[in-house]
Amino acid sequence: MGLIEKIIDWVDERAHIREIYRSLLVEYKVPKNLTFPYVFGVLALVTFAIQIVSGMVLLLYYKPSIADAFDSATYTIMGEIPFGWLFRHIHATGANFFMAIVYLHMFTGIYYNAYKKPRELVWIVGWLIYFVLILTALSGYLLPWGQLSYWGFIVTTEIPGSLADAPIFRDFFKAIAETIVLWMKGGYVITDITLGRVFGSHVLIYPLILLALVGIHLYLVRAAGISNPDGIEYDKKKHPDKFVPFHPYMTLKEGAYVMWYLAVFFFFVFFHISHFLPPDNFEPANPLKTPPHIAPEWYLLAFYEVFRSIPSKFWGFVAFNALLILLLLLPFLDWSPLKSARRRPLFFIAFLVFMFSSMALTILGSMPPTPMNAKLGLIFATLVFGFFLSLPIISFIEYGWYKAKGGEQQ
């Protein structure tokens, strides 16, 4: 005991850990009334760590060449290497959980309007994280070189080719479309070169960008302060009773949630992996044999459904990109001075419409493309656009209420 304390003292004298610990964790005050969904940011952080560690193990045995990729994942990692299967299961589960948690985190931010002043930058950096995360997931999915990997990649890289379908300036759009497709594929056919660069992106470039973005994101969250579910920006000095020290109040609570999250996580890892390592992907990629149904992974199905339910490929492409952009612009579309769905009945209704439509689009995306599904897809796509476009109107109405009440926050 004495010796350990001495060592800690020795380090502390030089590194000032205790000071940093005090100022970053104990003296950092957060709202006392944070609700359960505020944990999703921390869960995302935990999942990110899991992905990096499990990815590093897989990296030791994976071989990024067309001849070896499938076998290195399915033979070497799954059977030859002790616990290789465990790390592959963890990484596959982590990828799906990461997307799920980030979606839940985003919906939480939307529900409590955490993207509003002074947190617009938090939201924008979050959106960049989301975008890079999608690229990371897409690139990782190619690596095991199964049928789904290969054909999923083909379908994804050909989607920008829809631009060639433009009603005007056809040559112009065609040139752009071809360039994007060529650039994504790394050539006219998929070769070792494609696999090599997708591999490099997945294991180094995207994770580094993510790491930087997550760091900026966390810094911005600290700088702006965490939002309040009540939608009221309390002053820390005037209302000290509304705040609690981050440590131990929040850390222990979120620590417990993290433990239970990991329990669910490992249930999937050990006992329910078939949805994250789908059977069809245990057939090696075969460029001569198109599988009967190829669809993107679940986290892109909503965008995919919007894309395919619009009859024109060009407008389908424009529509799903517009959705991404609208998501980015959320803080500026919703300019109402009121915050949090708790205090905004109109926004609450719009939020429910948005949430259920996104879910419906995802489920529709997993179904065969019948005319009925296309019709439903079109309806829900309209509702999703309706959510974004209703925000300025709702804001306008709420601005009236706000003024009528004398511009008071409470």
């Binding site: 076998d71 417990a256 490992f266 090696p284 997993s366 179904m367």
Partner: protein, 240 residues
Amino acid sequence: MNAWGIIKTIIIGGSTLVFFFLLWFYNPFKHVEHYEVDEEVKQIIANPWKKTESGKTIAEEGRELFINFCSSCHSLRYDGIYLMSIQTNPKWKKIEKSAGRPVYRHGILYKDRFFVPKDVYEAFAHDELQQLKASLGQVPPDVSTLYLARGEGYLYQFILYPGKVLPGTSMPPMFNPQADPQAKEKVAKIVAYMKSVNTPPPKEQMKRNIMGILIIVYFIVAGLLLWKYRENLLKRLGYH
């Protein structure tokens, strides 16, 4: 939380749970073909590691059947089975040892079988594979992982009745249940063998299950302890 808060939580939380249940457990809107194994041979596929009267395991018998009936067209590289015409080539024996490595799976070493990288094998067997392609229209696939990709019901039905499951396929029926009363049993043994290559043996599976349960219980208990500790601590610090 007031009543309205509880209702909102149930609506939003509940629909989120239903949504992920559809995605990750069971999606009734998704169409999947079902293939069944005949009742009388289900037992055979259930445990490929069981010993038969001959003193061998079902998987070992299935392996012999596979070599006899299937390896004229198919390789099963993950268990060191290559095309019969290659396997009898003395040069191949040398290549197996120099370019390959003994099959090692789930902690068990099979000294008599070699795993050879795909490109080495396909380059060496180029002529034979092309001959098969010329006569069958395509190179019969390596079936190492098809147990995982297709499932046992499909394999069983396909091997018994290739044309019925995959109309127009060039794979010939190798067994005839009308003429050979043991046909179904043989096919089941082959499927059991393919399963044994792709799934951990019962002892290893048991280890994994125990490990999984211990880890899950550990995290649940750790969460509870943290929660309890926090409550006591907050009381002492005067929160709540």
